[in-house]
Symmetry: C2
Subunit: 165 residues, 2 copies
């Protein structure tokens, strides 16, 4: 058992990791972002044992990231769709996609994001909507304590984290 | 044992997850992105057992995401700095940050990204560098098979994944 609960940490990254639980959950959210909704399709895509898939989907529903909806009454059939919070996870999935393609695909990309109108391959970068600047290349952004930070976090962010991203 | 190896999957997301291993590694990469380099500082920040931190740092070095460098010869002292691949992980960390702040900080944000010149809080969004369009809100992007996709992946992406992101 290598994990402890991150949910009580103030850090929003640690709390996010708490919600997605482990890798399977991220890959399920990936597939859901790509449009899958049915148990059998997730199972085929992931090659995951059915009982584990059931458990992970249940966890994602309990965390408020997916919703279980009946799409047929007779026979009763259910599908799993992203909630707003689950939908908002797409930038994380796509950031993983860009990172994986850049560094861990020596044979070339197997999966790409494309613009539907131009057909061109997209290059996802993180931009600040307020200033319009690219975040990780501009040298103009830093991590700071927010209004809800407690004293310990404030001190830590002030001493060590007041660093350009 | 809930994990299997994702490294042999063609999906760049699965391969990325293989590299970062588990949550501790993501939180170490978070701290490294924030500017931490020393064992003691990581340890204090994470509240992680030293032997586990040693193991995780070793894993990140082996995966090519961090580098162990001597910063003092007598006494011998080492620090851990991000490689280019580790540095490029920042968009994933910051996407987690934005997601956590939006959905899992009911008391308000504890950690924010700020513009150093204006002091304004940044709002990170994923933009396609080629078209300049915001990816997840435009409805103009889809997941497609890349040149290195094998037949199974191509078929799967064509049938199920040809979906707007």
């Amino acid at each position: 058992m290598e994990r402890k609960s991150f949910g009580d940490m103030q850090c929003p990254i640690a709390r996010s990791l708490e919600r997605v639980g482990e890798w399977w959950s991220i890959l399920i959210l990936r597939d859901a972002s790509y449009g899958l909704t049915r148990f059998d399709d997730f199972q085929k895509s992931l090659g995951i044992a059915p009982n584990m898939l059931t458990r992970r989907l249940k966890g994602l529903v309990e965390s408020g990231l997916m919703e279980r909806k009946a799409y047929s009454v007779r026979p009763p059939r259910f599908e799993y769709v992203l909630t707003e919070a689950g939908h908002d996870f797409r930038p994380v999935v796509l950031s993983f996609l860009a990172w994986g393609n850049k560094h861990f695909a020596p044979e070339g990309a197997s999966v790409l994001l494309k613009h539907t109108k131009t057909g061109k391959t997209a290059v996802p970068v993180l931009v600040d909507q307020v200033s319009g600047e690219e975040i990780t290349s501009s040298g103009h952004f830093k991590i700071s304590a927010g209004p809800a930070a407690d004293d310990i976090l404030k001190k830590r962010l002030a001493s060590k984290y007041d660093t350009l991203i």
